[in-house]
């Protein structure tokens, strides 16, 4: 398990690079991303090739200070040691020597002065924030661009630039093109749409205020503060943002007005905005499409065989067989049902979620099979605590949050039905995609052999009993789920 610090951060940089564009696209439509820091505290954000990190800024004698070791630690192989009043820093092959309460240091053989004294606190070396602009180029032996007012520091050529151009279509659209994928936090309020870039090395355009000759989108402003760059688009009407080109293009446009139509009483799930789909465009549901009350998802398929239940039996085959029986059970109860795959094909998880969210069903049931254990296990999504999806967008990874109580109620109801049928049953939460991506009540059913013998899974009577149990329980709680079958 041994590893060097430089290797560790190299791996983390690789990890950051390997995050797919689809993930970026998914997250850009969220209002809840992992913040780099609290908005109330002073921070500096350092952007370097392959990594972005935030450090706290502390005040000492009316001057802003930052830890020097922490400032360079993610960028290379670093060590520091205290020798009396001297604090010696080694970064890669370069030595630096700082002296407590002195404003002069020796960096890579050169004496350097900086504004304010070097502080040594509990073996931790602190330098004045403004000195990073002069110290880091020498320590890192790389070009550094630093804005001490906004506390944003760029190492090397990492800047992301953008252009904004208004397309005078009807309705008008503001096209913002970025030189690298971006993933801003988006907030809307009356008359403006605000995009906060906490991790992207976004740099200012030629002028901080961009004006457009249009009433719907008259202007946009750029500002940066406390490590965050922010673009605010001002609008005469409510605005929405959409993403394309692998996160390199953001299109701002007025929110389309709902056409007048007969009032409907949608199910609770339908009141939620659909979570955006990373990578794959959701398959459009025609306006006159059937409204499916239930969506059945036979897990796995194609080259994804799932669990090898025996030498010749794969999970994907059992789930498909169960799905067909469950559809029959639903439809015999007058429940319109969509099955996400009805053949041996591989459907990506994101696409399964997209199809479900686009269909706006009242209940989603994923089917799994297992060889271990006995009976049936019912799962609902495992979501982070304290997450709220307030606002116009739903976070892809936590889209299920608002529906989780309904999903749990559905799982309990199905469990009660299985108990009535004397089938061993257990309910749990699980980190099982795409449950957390769904904006409808969602459960997963994992069917294990009734007696411990894998052959049970292929028995028509057992499959029918499981399918009938699920359908009976779901049909019995249509009032609770909020939609009529």
């Amino acid at each position: 398990m041994g590893f060097s610090r430089s290797n560790a951060f190299r791996r983390l940089r690789l990890w950051a690079r390997s995050r797919t564009a689809t993930r970026v696209l998914a997250l850009v439509l969220t209002i809840a991303i992992v913040p780099l820091h609290s908005a109330d505290e002073k921070h500096i954000v350092i952007y370097a090739p392959g990594t972005t990190f935030s450090l706290p800024v502390t005040d000492r004698d009316g001057r802003e200070y930052v830890g020097l070791l922490e400032s360079v630690e993610p960028l290379g192989t670093v060590s520091a040691r205290v020798d009396g009043t001297h604090w010696k820093l080694r970064y890669n092959d370069g030595e630096s020597d700082f002296t407590a309460s002195r404003n002069r240091a020796r960096v890579r053989g050169h004496d350097m002065d900086f504004p304010g004294n070097f502080l040594l606190e509990n073996n931790r070396g602190l330098v004045p924030l403004v000195s990073l602009g002069t110290l880091l180029p020498r320590i890192l032996n790389a070009s550094v661009s630093f804005n001490p007012v906004s506390r944003r520091l760029f190492v090397g050529n990492v800047a992301t630039h953008f252009t904004a151009q208004l397309s005078k279509t009807t309705p008008p659209r503001l096209l913002m093109n970025f030189t690298a994928p971006v993933n801003p936090t988006i907030a809307t309020e009356p008359g403006r749409l605000r995009m906060s870039f906490t991790r992207e090395p976004l740099v200012a355009p030629g002028t901080p205020t961009l004006t457009f000759d249009d009433k719907s989108i008259p202007s946009a402003t750029y500002l940066e503060n406390n490590g965050v760059a922010e673009i605010t688009v001002n609008g005469g009407t409510p605005l929405m943002a959409s993403f394309s080109n692998d996160g390199r293009t953001i299109t701002i446009a007025p929110v389309p007005q709902q056409p007048p139509g007969p009032p409907q009483a949608p199910a609770p799930a339908q009141n939620l905005p659909s979570a955006a789909v990373p990578g794959n465009a959701p398959k459009a549901v025609p306006a006159n499409a059937t409204h499916y009350y239930a969506v059945i998802d036979p897990s796995h398929g194609g080259d994804d065989r799932g669990v090898a239940l025996s030498d010749s039996l794969a999970e994907k085959d059992i789930t498909l067989s169960l799905a067909r029986r469950l559809r029959q059970e639903f439809e015999s109860r007058g429940i319109p049902t969509l099955v996400l795959r009805d053949s041996d094909v591989n459907v990506p998880l994101d696409e399964r979620a997209a199809q479900t969210n686009t269909a706006h069903p009242t209940i989603y049931v994923a089917l799994h099979a297992a060889s271990d254990g006995k009976g049936v296990r019912l799962y609902t999504a495992l979501l982070p605590s304290g997450v709220e999806n307030n606002g116009p967008f739903v976070a892809w990874d936590t889209a299920q949050t608002r529906l989780l109580p309904t999903s749990k109620a559905a799982a309990q109801n199905v469990a009660a039905e299985f108990q009535r049928r004397q089938l061993p049953v257990r309910t749990l939460q699980a980190p099982l995609r795409p449950l957390n991506n769904l904006t409808t009540a969602a459960i997963a059913v994992e069917v294990a052999p009734a007696s411990g013998d894998v052959a049970d899974l292929t028995q028509p009577a057992y499959q029918q009993n499981v399918a009938s149990g699920i359908a009976t329980a779901i049909a019995s709680m249509h009032n609770q789920l909020g939609g009529a079958p």
């Binding site: 398990m1 041994g2 590893f3 560790a8 791996r11 983390l12 690789l14 990890w15 390997s18 995050r19 797919t20 993930r23 992992v34 990190f53 796995h300 994804d304 799932g306 669990v307 090898a308 999970e315 998880l349 799994h368 297992a370 060889s371 271990d372 254990g373 296990r377 799962y379 495992l382 979501l383 982070p384 605590s385 304290g386 990874d397 257990r426 749990l428 939460q429 699980a430 980190p431 099982l432 995609r433 957390n436 997963a444 994992e446």
Partner: protein
């Protein structure tokens, strides 16, 4: 009648073959001594620091549960090394004889990184993920066991991210989501259901 010189030549060849066979046998014996039996489990280096009492959350396939199990292991003072030692102790149980939740031979935690305050990144090796048994519950037990063991013994861990060979991976073995960051509070609540 075979000529005498052919008899001598045949005898020499026979001796040479026997001699070569003996020589090859010795070389193979030495090679086997030099390379111990294929046991690719990680070799535990001696861990400095005093022995401490910790709680490991051990998965048990028999009941599909997690059990809190007290253990005394030598723990370093540094948080990162503590995390590594805790997971080493946990994996020793899973890789041992009579394991309650067997993992594939060669399963290893390559490294544990404490990145942001509260964020732990756990890098598993390929053998761990590729050889893991597939199934919702089996994978969930592994993931929650690791997270809860860290969260219970190292304060202020808020989120856990898994990598495999330093890279992101969608699922552990087809089910448990590895693409997301795990919230330790949510996992603790789940573990309470699984005990």
């Amino acid at each position: 009648m075979i000529p005498r010189h052919l008899q001598i030549a045949f005898g020499i060849l026979l001796l040479a073959v026997l001699g070569m066979g003996f020589y090859v046998g010795r070389i193979r014996g030495r090679a086997q001594q030099a390379e111990p039996a294929a046991d690719s489990r990680p070799v535990a280096p001696p861990a400095p620091g005093p022995t401490e009492r910790v709680t490991l959350y051990v998965a048990n396939d028999a009941g599909g549960i997690l059990r809190a199990q007290a253990a005394s292991i030598p723990l370093p003072y540094a948080r990162q090394q503590r995390a590594e030692e805790l997971l080493r102790a946990l994996l020793d149980i899973y890789l041992g004889k009579d394991s309650p939740h067997p993992l594939a031979v060669g399963s290893e935690v390559r490294a544990v990184y404490l990145v942001d305050p509260g964020l732990v990144v756990i890098d598993l090796n390929a053998a761990f993920a590729n050889g893991h048994r597939s199934g919702v519950l089996e994978e969930e037990l592994t993931v929650t066991s690791i997270i809860q063991t860290l969260a219970a013994n190292i304060p202020d861990i808020l989120r856990v991210k898994f990598l495999v060979e330093g890279k992101e991976r969608d699922t552990l073995a087809g089910h448990a989501d590895l693409s997301t960051m795990y919230d330790t509070i949510a996992v603790s609540q789940l573990v309470a259901q699984m005990q």
